[in-house]
């Protein structure tokens, strides 16, 4: 069944030109963890590397879909990165997901693209420098928002078809044990602890994004004259929305349950 693994390699190549270069330059090294045979590798090397990059909008289209699931954390991460590195296009930090180790690991394993992206957001936000109190607040907020939206994305994907079995009442059974066994939180509910204030910011950022998207087109046409494509793509995250700044810097963070 290596054809499934080989298909996943092809998908990774379609998304990541750097990976294409690695495959053709150092195939044994680039594909060491792919679970494919030397014959599979030979077949890959017989293809034209340019064939993998004909669709220059693939990453942007996929990112557009991912933004729908991670609106606040993407906005927070883009803003945080923009503050620390204004010379880089703001959306680059999100686009870089498709060249990340997490993307390649997830795609090769057949994992959910959205969940891999959420894990990337958490990891990236966690890795942002905490140089001063304001940056610390921004970066911790970005990480917390990513954790919230990742948890929501996971809940969207739970299999409701296999709920835990509920024990039957019997005369001999220990009623207190049965009571505990019969009481479950709904599989649609999960628990997450986030710093105090994050939920308010979560709601506020969502409102700001809604306002921003209603005030300007969320999809901006992009023309690629290279391949003649006419697909309109755009990214709905920007750095120019009004961010809800705290009145006082870096309040003491406590924990609060979210469900």
């Amino acid at each position: 069944m290596t054809h499934l693994a080989l298909h996943h390699v092809v998908v990774r190549m379609l998304y990541d030109p750097a990976f294409v270069q690695s495959v053709f330059a150092r195939p044994e090294e680039a594909l060491a963890d792919a679970g494919i045979t030397t014959e599979d590798i030979d077949w890959l090397l017989q293809t034209d590397p340019r064939a993998y990059t004909t669709d220059s909008h693939r990453r942007a289209r996929s990112l557009g879909g991912l933004l729908e699931e991670y609106p606040t954390s993407c906005a927070a991460l883009v803003r945080a990165r923009h503050r620390s590195d204004a010379g880089t296009p703001p959306v680059a930090v999100l686009d870089a997901f498709f060249s990340s180790a997490g993307f390649h690991r997830g795609m090769q394993a057949g994992a959910s693209l959205a969940l891999s992206f959420g894990e990337y957001l958490v990891q990236t936000a966690d890795g942002l420098p905490r140089a001063d109190p304001a940056a610390t607040l921004r970066h911790e907020l970005a990480a917390a928002l990513a954790r919230i939206e990742l948890r929501i994305a996971r809940l969207r994907r739970i299999a409701l078809r296999s709920l835990p079995a509920i024990p039957e009442w019997t005369d001999s059974a220990d009623s207190s044990e049965l009571e505990r066994a019969r009481l479950h939180a709904s599989p649609c509910i999960d628990w997450l602890t986030v710093p105090e204030g994050v939920l308010d910011r979560f709601g506020e950022v969502r409102r700001q994004l809604a306002l921003a998207s209603s005030a300007r087109p969320s999809v901006e046409a992009a023309d690629d004259t290279d391949d003649g494509g006419s697909v309109g793509v755009g990214v709905g995250v920007g750095t120019d929305f009004r961010w809800p700044e705290p009145e006082t810097p870096a309040p003491p963070w406590s924990t609060r349950e979210f469900h």
């Binding site: 069944m1 290596t2 054809h3 499934l4 080989l6 298909h7 996943h8 092809v10 998908v11 379609l14 014959e39 599979d40 077949w43 890959l44 293809t47 034209d48 340019r50 064939a51 993998y52 990059t53 004909t54 996929s62 879909g65 991912l66 699931e69 997830g106 795609m107 394993a109 057949g110 994992a111 959910s112 693209l113 959205a114 994907r157 078809r161 290279d226 391949d227 003649g228």
Partner: protein, 288 residues
């Protein structure tokens, strides 16, 4: 195989009728019924049927069911919830058969953002797995399943595309949906003549043909054909159609895939398809 002759038809998928200048399928049925004898409905179970398709079904008109969401070569993909949805939709659509590109419709699990279309790995092992998937879907639904050769810019494997699909059809003992435009794309990429390999392909397996327009592209010196579904059909595709129609005794259906184009723009190609079919008595469904 006791399958009906459907004639010339058109295709659609969820939302295609909403695009600017979309083909008015019921309008075509009214004004040129010879070109809209059936509707091939492209279906993702997660989306269901749009109102254009439902309007067609309400009139009791013929259909086929074109799947857009199953990796037939991956046994894990054909899970019971998906099958239950397919059976329910097939009950509503009442298709003459199931068909669809035999390739990778989504990477990994069936999830948001995972949809794409890649051709199968062109190997003996994959042909065996694909045939198993075709046979199992037929068994699970009670409907014949016709694999279709997908389009791509890259094909991986050691078999010619047609040799691969000959194996799939033989192992699964089923018919073939030969997409002439997709085959033209493949042959051009490989540097072959459009008809290469057709002389050894079991054309008696071809029950349905797709015809569609394509656009020749160049990407950094890499020449390829985009499967654009525009009304301008490339000469390579016409050559393949002419060759296959003349030699496919069990041909039952031809679809012109032009779902996002107005009727007037599509009529010339419909007319040419009709002329090709009428030239060849080998296709009894199309004798006049």
């Amino acid at each position: 195989m006791d399958l009906p002759h459907l004639g010339i038809g058109v295709s659609t998928e969820y939302g295609a009728g909403e695009s600017p200048s979309a083909l008015d399928i019921l309008g075509l049925r009214e004004h040129a019924p010879q070109f809209a004898q059936f509707l091939e409905v492209g279906i993702e179970v997660v989306k269901g049927l749009d109102w254009h398709t439902r309007a067609w079904l309400e009139r009791g008109l013929p259909t086929t069911y074109h799947f857009l969401d199953i990796n037939l070569d991956d046994p894990r993909d054909m899970d019971e919830p998906w099958l239950a949805e397919v059976r329910a939709l097939a009950d509503r659509v009442r298709p003459a058969w199931l068909c669809g590109d035999a390739g990778l419709w989504h990477f990994g699990m069936r999830d948001r953002g995972h949809m794409l279309l890649l051709p199968p790995i062109l190997s003996d092992a994959n042909a065996a797995a694909m045939a198993d998937g075709v046979a199992r879907l037929r068994e699970e639904t009670g409907l014949e399943v016709l694999p279709e050769n997908p389009p791509a810019t890259v094909y991986v494997g050691n078999l010619h595309l047609l040799d691969y699909f000959a194996q799939v059809c033989d192992r699964a003992d089923t018919g073939m949906l030969l997409d002439a435009a997709h085959l033209a794309i493949y042959q051009r990429l490989q540097g072959h003549d459009p008809l290469t390999g057709l002389d050894r392909f079991p054309l008696d397996r071809v029950l349905e043909i797709h015809v569609a327009g394509g656009i020749e592209r160049d990407h950094g010196g890499f020449a390829y054909i985009e499967d654009s579904h525009t009304p301008q059909v490339l000469p390579d595709t016409w050559r393949i159609l002419e060759y296959v129609v003349a030699r496919a005794p069990h041909l039952k259906a031809v679809v012109f895939e032009c779902e996002r184009n107005p009727i007037a723009a599509c009529l010339p190609a419909f007319g040419e398809i009709e002329r090709v079919l009428h030239r060849h008595a080998a296709a009894p469904a199309f004798r006049t």
